[in-house]
């Protein structure tokens, strides 16, 4: 047993962080894309995004595109580092000695 980041270690927040981490480092994802891809509801995703945003792990930007409101979510540098540390900690728990940078999750196709 080991200590681990309990903000990230929650099924939905973990998926949100993993999804944003899998994108390019400068990418920002549309709220609806995350909601549909992760099969969540508006309220559920919104609540977890708030939690992650208040931890400084991501930034939320609201814009109008063709007069329609859009919300974009982006992983912050602190969020990226926290996620790397989190995955590293999980690997240590299961006894995987490969560093996170050496073999990233989902690196294979």
């Amino acid at each position: 047993m080991s200590d681990i980041n309990d903000i990230i270690h929650q099924p939905i927040r973990l998926k949100v962080m993993a999804a944003l981490f899998a994108m390019e480092s400068d990418a920002e994802a549309d709220f609806t894309f995350l909601r549909d891809h992760l099969k969540l509801t508006d309220g559920n995703l919104g609540a977890h995004l708030e939690k992650l945003e208040s931890a400084g792990y991501l930034s939320v930007r609201k814009v109008f595109i063709r007069r329609k409101p859009k919300t974009f979510v982006r992983l912050s540098r602190a969020g990226r580092r926290a996620f790397e540390d989190y995955v590293e900690a999980l690997r240590l728990i299961i006894g995987d000695t490969h560093g996170f940078g050496e073999e990233q999750p989902g690196s294979g196709k």
Partner: protein
């Protein structure tokens, strides 16, 4: 918070699954419709070349024009409606555009240098050239599906070319049915998998 080995393993599996699905969606989101488009062009134009060779040159001109215009339209549509914004992805899109544009310019130069060629040689040249580009994209962009598609269609085309020495007169039919159908089926699969 304390986490057991089992919970850690499950969490890592979740991370891996989400990561794979996001990367797949990013990489193959536009590839599906483009493959369907070019698969259709290949099937129709190669069948035209086989059964109505007198109008095949016009057929290819129209088919290729539709393919290029359609690919540009699909790229533009994706850029306008994209749900993940990234400057580096945008730059990659432009690099891919210029890669294909220059590849066809080079292909024209090579064909001019290699003239005269037979119709079958032209068909084989273009099919293997495009599949070589798929293989390169597959290797560089870590798109395993494109790599294997490129190698498979190249092998099918190569087998047809060798067979045509014993059974002449059917290579265009083979390239249309085997090559074009492989693109079409792959595109439909990707559209279904990563819609």
């Amino acid at each position: 918070m304390e986490v057991t080995q089992r919970q850690a393993k499950e969490a890592l599996q979740d991370v891996d699954a989400v990561s794979r699905s996001i990367k797949g969606k990013m990489a193959y989101g536009i590839a599906g419709p483009i493959l369907v488009l070019w698969g259709t062009v290949w099937v129709v134009c190669f069948l035209l070349t086989q059964f109505a060779p007198q109008i095949s040159a016009w057929g290819w001109l129209v088919g290729n024009s539709l393919g290029i215009a359609g690919s540009l339209y699909l790229g533009r549509l994706r850029a306008r409606t994209r749900t993940v914004r990234s400057d580096s992805a945008k730059r990659m899109g432009w690099r891919l555009f210029w890669f294909w544009f220059l590849l066809f310019i080079y292909a024209d130069v090579w064909l001019a240098i290699l003239w005269p060629w037979r119709g079958e040689q032209l068909g084989m040249f273009l099919v293997t050239l495009v599949m070589f580009a798929y293989v390169v994209m597959g290797l560089w962009l870590e798109m395993g599906f494109m790599l294997w598609l490129g190698l498979t269609v190249t092998a099918l085309a190569g087998a047809g070319y060798v067979l045509s020495f014993w059974v002449p007169g059917y290579l265009n039919l083979w390239l249309g049915l085997a090559g074009g159908s492989a693109l079409l089926a792959s595109g439909l699969y990707l559209m279904r998998r990563w819609r």
